[in-house]
């Protein structure tokens, strides 16, 4: 009897364990590059390979110009785009005498940048809020920064330096700060592009200002500046900060002013290391417990470096473990998985050893693409809109499915939440179901 009970208990436990394993894990993607801003999704139960023709397309909508990625929280999507703003109710026919009698006054639409919320199921827009002036450039107009969703607030940054906190329900502006005025910075050539980081009670943003105002920590509730830190003689770059737990302490990691740098909650430097690539858009990678990877393109020092950091503050020691002229991230960031770094070396997709920097494989033809990790695979979007599923292995480049998802220029990394992929090109947004077993 006891034995039967034991068997039953064991079977029940096994069934529970099996059901726990089989239950797909889903999560939000509340900010740039996911919850930890490292390009890693922890979702499981995704398609291990894609059928011919790719995964099922759920919806597709035109979207105003921009490179802002999609954040996901609570069944809603948040992103930014450029458009025109027509002041409602200003059109009027004014009775005048003489030649101007009956003249109609029509306000010219103003080019602006919007932050917007969309329904994740349908892609339909729920609300939109004007954030600031539209950025016009030779290489693509519109906002670059990705919204960060935190509790009931969405934090956004326009290309002209308009930082705002919006109510998640309707997009009402709770507070706003103009970076150029607050920090005395100037707009970078391609616009303010870093995605704001929200961590605890802080909002961290690249202010781009002179005299110790390269980065800033703001009170996320009020927008009040708590501290500024760092020098960046060239002004704001295009890097986004990441929050990490290093040795039990919360640190904020970024590249600016020719330095790979980590700071603490009060903006004090934990360590810094010279890193002088011409453009360092790619976020650094923290390889616990003490290694840091930095990458950039252009200039004499382009390429990648892996350093080991011991101590902090004035006691900090930074040792270069290896340095390579390749793995030059341009628009997108690399990611770390299983002892290897996957990313775009200018426009060649590569896997390198995190230990030695040794190249494991290379794949050309995907341009300046972008990538995330999910469920044992890499989801890769080429700069011409080809979406690929690639096995996350250092053994060889192994493609497990693809689809031409978008046309035009695609410089925005994929987003994954709830078994669905959300992609955007410069002017279009699309969603795919990548959950195993269909409709997630």
């Amino acid at each position: 009897m006891k034995r039967r009970q034991c068997i039953l208990i064991c079977l029940a436990a096994a069934a529970l364990a099996l059901s726990a394993v089989a239950e797909p894990m889903t999560e939000n993607w509340p900010q740039f590059r996911g919850a930890a801003r490292d390009g890693m999704s922890h979702e499981t139960g995704l398609l291990a390979e894609w059928p011919e023709g790719g995964p099922t397309e759920l919806w597709r909508h035109p979207l105003g110009e921009g490179y802002s990625a999609v954040s996901v929280a609570g069944g809603k999507l948040y992103s930014m785009y450029a458009g025109e703003y027509q002041i409602e109710g200003l059109e009027a026919t004014i009775e005048m005498e003489g030649d101007d009698e009956g003249m109609e006054i029509v306000a010219e639409p103003t080019p602006v940048e919007y932050a917007a919320a969309f329904d994740a199921e349908s892609g339909e827009e729920i609300w939109s809020t004007v954030i600031g002036e539209k950025l016009d450039t030779e290489f693509g107009n519109g906002p670059r920064s990705t919204p960060a969703v935190d509790d009931d607030t969405v934090y956004v940054l326009g290309s002209k330096g308009d930082l705002a906190a919006l109510a998640i329900t309707g997009g009402e502006i709770r507070w706003s700060v103009k970076l150029t005025e607050t920090f005395g910075s100037r707009q970078p050539g391609w616009g303010f592009s870093g995605s704001v980081l929200v961590d605890g009670d802080l909002l961290i943003v690249e202010g781009g200002g002179p005299e110790g105002k390269s980065f800033a920590g703001l009170d996320k509730a009020s927008g009040e500046v708590r501290w500024t830190t760092g020098e960046a003689p060239q002004g704001a770059g295009y890097n986004s900060p990441q929050a990490i737990d290093m040795g039990g302490e919360r640190r904020y990691l970024y590249i600016a002013g020719g330095q790979l740098r980590a700071i603490d909650h009060d903006g004090n430097e934990v360590f810094s290391h010279p890193f002088q690539a011409f453009e360092s858009h790619g976020m650094p990678i923290y390889v616990a417990p003490d290694r840091f990877f930095a990458s950039g393109v252009g200039g004499d020092n382009q390429g990648a470096v892996m350093v080991r950091v011991t101590g902090s503050g004035e006691e900090a020691k930074v040792e270069e473990l290896w340095k390579a002229p390749f793995m030059r991230n341009h628009f997108s960031s690399s990611l770390y998985h299983g002892g290897h770094i996957y990313g775009f070396d200018n426009s060649t997709f590569k896997c390198i050893s995190a230990e030695t920097g040794e190249q494991k494989w290379a794949k050309r033809g995907l341009g300046k693409g972008s990538l995330i990790y999910a469920d044992g695979n890499l989801v890769v979007l080429s700069d011409r809109g080809k979406l690929l599923l690639v096995e996350a292995t250092s053994e060889a480049y192994n493609e497990k499915g693809s689809v031409q998802a978008l046309g035009g220029k695609c410089w925005t990394a994929p987003t994954l939440a709830g078994g669905k992929l959300y992609l955007r090109s410069h002017t279009e947004m699309v969603s795919y179901d990548v959950a195993a077993g269909g409709k997630s």
Partner: protein, 413 residues
């Protein structure tokens, strides 16, 4: 002692085995490697039969895809028409002058390519690769041996031009087709190393041609993916030459040596007097400027220039003489209906003042053909309200006959 000798011998043998294992890629001579490369690409005879080559397909720059056409002809002439960021771009080399029309420089007309940019352009003017005839061109070649391109084993050959510019060709050790080329590169004139990858080789008649060519340097990437390669298509030689500057194409027939019949009068009531002379109109600045020099019968030297101001969209003429040392500047437009270029100094502030009057000048060029053209000169003493014709010049192509009775550059003004 014996053990040590055995150990040494073992190490030596192991070393020899290692050397032997590494040897296949490097054991070949430079001539053998180059010969196999040429054979792999179709052989010398097959390429010698190529007069022109046209490649069409898609060109990707700044992550944007557009169509391209590349035409090649003998004497390393080449022309590429593609799009960069939706701007139409043309790049050409006619065997002498390299040029580009690249609106990304905010200039929509042909510019000469010189210096490092020209050296880099010369990387892509061959039908196939410079390994075919590097000796004839005075290049030094060096077999570097085994190498590595993105994890792929290659055999590398370095070519150095007489001017020191070097390019290293990495060849597949099995097919001897090119895998990559490393060379100096240029990003808007700033030196940057460049690597070009060659892939997707396909048979085109007797030739083997890469259908995928990707260049990377600095932050840049350019990808040419061929859809079609056609051999010996008819190509107009003119497509390789520097296109005339906009506006000047209408005036370029005026270039040459001319027999000029000059008719002039000092005032509207005076009879016309006639004179003849020979003048030369020369192009300068790649045809952006026409220059006419002449000496009057009184020995006054006159230098005229004529150009088109592409920013303001109008023609500009300057006329300088060494009698008054006064430079007159005239501006005007070309009337398409009458095919007449009319310029004046009425608004340029360079009119001549004397005898208590201000004299404005107006010049017109018309009937412009390859065989001749006409020019009329008018004067106004009422600020441009009324003009009277005071000189007419008829230019006809200079022949030996016309030359015999007119002194070069001399005449009565």
């Amino acid at each position: 002692m014996r053990h040590r000798m055995i150990r040494r011998a073992t190490v030596l043998i192991a070393g020899l085995i290692l050397v032997a294992a590494a040897a296949p890629a490097t054991a070949e001579t430079l001539e053998a490697v180059v010969g196999k490369h040429i054979e792999a690409r179709g052989g010398t005879d097959a390429w010698k039969a190529v007069e022109t080559l046209e490649v069409t397909g898609t060109y990707t720059a700044f992550s944007q895809v557009g169509p391209f056409t590349m035409r090649r002809a003998r004497d390393r002439r080449v022309r590429l028409d593609c799009h960069w960021n939706e701007h139409p771009v043309s790049i050409g080399y006619d065997g002498e002058d390299a040029w580009q029309i690249n609106p990304m420089f905010q200039i929509a007309w042909a510019q000469h390519i010189r210096g490092l940019d020209r050296q880099v352009l010369m990387l892509d003017v061959d039908f196939a690769t410079p390994l075919f005839d590097y000796q004839d061109r005075g290049y030094e070649a060096e077999l570097l041996g085994a190498g590595d391109v993105e994890g792929q084993e290659v055999i590398q050959v370095k070519l150095t031009r007489p001017d020191g510019f070097d390019e290293t060709w990495s060849l597949d050790p099995e097919t001897y087709l090119e895998v990559a080329r490393d060379s100096p590169g240029s990003d808007f004139g700033r030196p940057e190393r460049q690597r070009t990858y060659f892939d997707d080789f396909r048979q085109v008649g007797d030739l083997k041609v890469p259908f995928y060519v990707e260049s990377q340097w600095y932050t840049r990437t350019r990808v040419m993916e061929a859809d079609e390669v056609t051999v010996n298509v008819e190509v107009d030689d003119g497509v390789f030459s520097v296109p005339p500057p906009p506006g000047m194409d209408k005036l370029l027939p005026m270039v040459g040596e001319w027999h000029v019949k000059l008719e002039q009068r000092p005032n509207p009531g005076a009879p016309w007097s006639e004179n003849e002379r020979t003048v030369t109109v020369e192009p300068a600045m790649g045809g952006a400027l026409l220059r006419e020099g002449l000496t009057t019968s009184q020995g006054v030297r006159v230098e005229n220039t004529l150009t088109y101001d592409q920013f303001r969209g109008r023609y500009v003429m300057t006329s300088m003489n060494d009698f008054t040392s006064h430079m007159d500047i005239q501006e005007g437009n070309f009337d398409e209906e009458t095919a007449r270029l009319t310029l004046s100094n009425a608004t340029t502030g360079t009119s001549w003042t004397g005898f208590g009057r201000t004299f404005h000048e107006r010049n017109s060029y018309f009937d412009i053909t390859a065989d001749g053209f006409k020019m009329e000169q008018e004067t106004s003493i009422d600020g441009g309200e009324n003009w009277f014709l005071n000189a007419k010049m008829t230019y006809t192509k200079k022949t030996e006959e016309s030359d015999s009775d007119a002194p070069a550059g001399a005449g009565e003004d």
